[in-house]
């Protein structure tokens, strides 16, 4: 009895950690791995399918069935999309919008969030209340259009950025993050003679890199994916962002397919192939950016989840 107890105590002591932190045994490991692999496959499966179809030859796609690897790889669909330079131009527009738009949105959001994170600012409550109101009450299509039109923003890139410059949701996240930064750090900076701007720039922002990266990513993706405002506010089709142009290709997939057939004896890529190629082209830039932000991403998304 006593020995047994002793032994067990010894074990606990030697491992130096509580039971729930013990490394799992091999069967558990295997089960976990299988489970996670299964989930990963479920997540990756549609994507592999999309990519495979986009590179498949017309014949294979028309024959139907599940394609997970292009049997007769073909670049027809991509060539079709990139011909004429319209998509290339739109990619440029979208990149510009994403870069400048995200920058503008970040500046505005950070500025307001920092201001509102200070309890002493007079009227902060009211401003916050108004901002939160935008979460509940959204302008309809027509009022938004009239506002943008009366501001003279029709046919400007600003019309795609200024409406909704600050997302109330991200603002609240950011404000709460700022409020959780230890006051002592800020007071110390103050004692050293730092102004509000200096405190923000040298103390608060560096401490908030994770959440800033995440919000910037969200903003960037939002801008990248947006197309409806462009339909509404841009009369000049040469200003269209890539999502709107690609949408035209997707929706009118077969129209496009026909439109790009140069040799009447050569069947155009089927609509499905084109659509998948478009999905790849539209998603790729975001996928490329994501790994660079990933290390911030997990931290940022979890920020505020656990109180220290």
């Amino acid at each position: 009895m006593a020995t047994a107890l002793e032994r067990s105590t010894t074990v606990t002591v030697t491992s130096g950690r509580p039971a729930w932190m013990e490394p799992p045994g091999p069967p558990e490991q295997v089960a976990k791995t299988l489970f996670l692999v299964a989930i990963a496959v479920v997540m990756l499966f549609p994507f592999v399918y999309v990519v495979a179809i986009s590179f498949s030859s017309a014949k294979d796609v028309l024959a139907g069935g599940l394609i997970l690897w292009p049997k007769n790889p073909s670049l027809d669909a991509y060539q079709a999309i990139l011909r004429g330079g319209i998509v290339a131009r739109a990619l440029l527009v979208s990149t510009g919008l994403a870069v400048f738009g995200t920058a503008a949105k970040m500046v505005a959001t950070v500025a307001l969030a920092y201001g509102l994170s200070k309890r002493a600012v007079p009227g902060a409550k009211l401003v916050l209340f108004l901002v939160l109101g935008t979460l509940l009450f959204r302008p309809g299509l027509i009022p938004s259009y009239l506002l943008v039109k009366n501001l003279g923003l029709i046919d400007t890139y600003q019309s795609l950025i200024l409406p909704g410059l600050i997302s109330a949701f991200y603002l609240v996240i950011l404000r709460n993050f700022f409020m959780n930064i230890p006051q002592e750090l800020i007071e110390a900076a103050r004692l050293d003679g730092g102004s509000d701007w200096q405190v923000l720039w040298h103390i608060v922002l560096p401490l908030s890199k994770a959440v800033l990266a995440v919000i910037a990513l969200f903003y960037g993706v939002d801008i990248w994916n947006a197309f409806f405002n462009a339909v509404l506010y841009l009369n000049d089709a040469s200003m269209w962002p890539v999502q709107l142009v690609l949408r035209q290709y997707v929706l009118q997939g077969s129209a496009m397919a026909s439109a790009i057939t140069l040799d009447p004896n050569q069947p155009p890529p089927p609509a499905q192939t084109l659509q998948m190629a478009i999905v790849v082209v539209a998603t790729l830039p975001i996928l490329v950016v994501y790994p660079f932000l990933q290390r911030y991403f997990t931290r940022g998304v979890l920020s505020g989840a656990i109180k220290a």
Binding site: K59, I86, R89, Q248, Q252, S254, A255, A259, N265, A271
Partner: protein, 588 residues
């Protein structure tokens, strides 16, 4: 729906500009605006009864001021002279052309006066190359004598953009109206006088100033009237509606008879599903695809309704009252026919949720054996990008046979015509205050509706030689630059449909004959020119209700007798009121 455009676009590129329109025409009506949206059967406007053949002719507004009007104008159709012309045998059947004609100028001078013209247009293609790099656009402006600024609007967003523009005021100079494309609120704007009444400009003597527009058949003008007024200039579309075709090679392989009666047709469609016509050894074929999106179907349901001679939405009784198609025996027989087909397994398992594009894909891919589609898709397997062509790519032995309603259903079969147009271009009221401006804009539309074989037709269809197209063996072929330069720059208008198939000139005569045969049994929706506020407000809702009710019966969830309840509910939810309003409008 996407398909429709697709087809349209392709045809356009492969055939001449005019040829295309005709072909698409065929497809257009059948395809609802979008998979989710209300079915097309565009029923844009309303107005008094199916007008007499000639339009009322109010005096043209204020005599023209010759001083300001530029000289020139359209010269009439040079096509009369064209070699290889197969003249239309009847109104509504396109002229056919078996060879590239010698181009003649059909317009003298420039229609425009040098200003800017903004144009709201629906678009099915990616945006055109920007003006500064677009030679065709630059040349277009030179020819029109104006700065041409289209507001290219993707089809799915057309309704929203239209609503926003109308709410914002300051409408563009030319406004493409097509309420059937998710833009029913346009009716309200028309009703409130947002657009110029063009009746005085486009009827009688006044119309003669626009030579090309004056060649438009009367039905085109009548079918787009709103409250007896001409609000816009219709964009021509072929009259033939959708028509069903089936796999003749499958019938042979399975040793079946041609469908001479509805019973034989039933057995044939079931055999497509139960047999193995593709020889794959698997159960992977069916008779029919999706059944439609509303009461009328448009897809495989329409096959049945047409076979039984169901009226196109409304039937006028001798006493002047109206009977809706769902209240007719023919409709009930059609539903019963489909119900039995479903029970016997002739329908594709995904038929309830299929989009038009998926249904078309299933037909091309040899999964279903019968399908309803624009006529232009079946003229010949040699016409690139048509359904027939694509099917031959997938299966070189594929044979398509027309399922003409008269063959199987006895002499009562029908097909549903299109309005002969796809949308119409209006001039906002504010712009219309200036009569000279109205005339200038109408001249521009006139220019954009050139006759086949004219130099203008060639330019609008093929752009500039060496830049936008190459001529091989006398046949112009748009190149990739031409396709992206042209885009939907001048989508709002086109010349009358013609049959011109450069790659398959032999297909022209049979195609024209086919179009004629089908037009003979074509029926119109008598409510096209009629106005009913209830119809406009309730149509989408009732269509959805109709589709749901029909689905329940066809799939066997409910007995055929449930149709009576559905009709009752349809009446109480606006059907009866719509009938009353149409009857009143009809009585005039």
């Amino acid at each position: 729906m996407a398909m429709r455009h697709s087809r349209r676009a392709l045809l356009r590129t492969t055939l001449g500009l005019t040829g295309i329109t005709s072909l698409l025409a065929a497809c257009a009506p059948a395809t609802p605006a979008s998979p989710t949206s209300a079915p097309v059967a565009p029923k844009p406007t309303s107005a008094p009864p199916p007008a007499p053949t000639t339009l009322p002719t109010p005096a043209p507004p204020a005599a023209t001021a010759p001083a300001t009007a530029p000289p020139g104008g359209s010269l009439g159709t040079p096509t009369a002279l064209a070699e290889g012309k197969l003249p239309s045998p009847a109104v509504g059947v396109p002229d056919g052309f078996t060879m590239m004609p010698k181009l003649l100028k059909s317009y003298d001078g420039k229609p425009g006066r040098g200003g800017k013209v903004t144009v709201f247009t629906i678009a099915y293609q990616p945006p055109p190359v920007p003006r500064d790099q677009n030679q065709m656009w630059q040349e277009l402006e030179k020819r029109l004598g104006v700065t041409w600024e289209p507001i290219i609007t993707p089809q799915p967003e057309y309704g929203n953009k239209s609503a926003a523009l109308i709410a914002g005021g300051n409408l563009p100079d030319l406004f493409y109206l097509n309420p059937g494309q998710n833009a029913a609120p346009q009716y309200k704007a028309m009703d409130q006088g947002a657009f110029t009444d063009l009746t005085a400009y486009l009827t009688g003597e006044a119309l003669k100033a626009y030579k090309n527009l004056s060649t438009f058949p009367d039905y085109m003008w009548n079918n787009v009237k709103f409250k007896n007024k001409i609000i816009g200039v219709p964009k021509p579309l072929q009259r033939n509606g959708n028509i069903a075709f089936y796999r003749g090679d499958w019938v042979k392989k399975l040793g079946l008879d041609a469908p001479k009666s509805m019973d034989v047709l039933h057995d044939l469609l079931v055999a497509f599903a139960r047999g193995d016509p593709t020889g794959s050894g698997q159960k992977d074929t069916w008779g029919l695809g999706r059944y439609g999106t509303d009461w009328g179907g448009w897809d495989s349901t329409l096959i049945a309704f047409n076979m039984f001679g169901t009226p196109f939405n409304w039937r006028k009784n001798p006493d002047g009252t109206l009977t809706h198609q769902i209240e007719t025996d023919e409709f009930r027989m059609g539903i019963d026919f489909l119900r039995r087909l479903y029970a016997d397994g002739a329908f594709h398992p995904d038929s309830a949720g299929m989009t038009f594009a998926q249904c078309q894909g299933a037909f091309i891919g040899g999964k279903i054996g019968a399908h309803s589609e624009g006529l232009g898709n079946f003229y010949s397997p040699t016409i690139a990008s048509t359904v027939y062509f694509k099917m031959r790519q997938a299966d070189p032995n594929a044979e398509l046979v027309g399922l003409y309603p008269t063959q199987a259903g006895g002499a009562k079969g029908v097909t549903r015509n299109t309005q002969g147009s796809f949308g119409y271009t209006a001039i906002p009221a504010a712009v219309g205050k200036d009569e000279e401006r109205v005339k200038e804009l109408l001249r521009i539309l006139d220019y954009l509706a050139p006759p086949f074989g004219s130099e203008e037709w060639f330019f609008l269809g093929y752009g500039i030689e060496g830049v936008d197209h190459q001529v091989t063996n006398g046949v112009p072929v748009l190149n990739e630059r031409g396709i992206s330069e042209r885009g939907d720059l001048t989508y709002i208008m086109a010349g009358l449909p013609t049959l011109f198939i450069p790659q398959a000139p032999d297909a022209v005569a049979p195609a024209q004959k086919m179009a004629h045969e089908i037009l003979k049994i074509g029926i119109d929706d008598l409510s096209w020119p009629l106005y009913s506020a209830t119809d406009i407000a309730k149509r989408a809702e009732l269509n959805q209700f109709g589709f749901d009710s029909m689905t329940a019966i066809i799939t066997g969830r409910q007995p055929l007798s449930a149709l009576d309840d559905a009709i009752k509910e349809w009446k109480s939810r606006g059907g009866e009121q719509t009938r009353k309003e149409f009857e009143q409008a009809l009585a005039g």
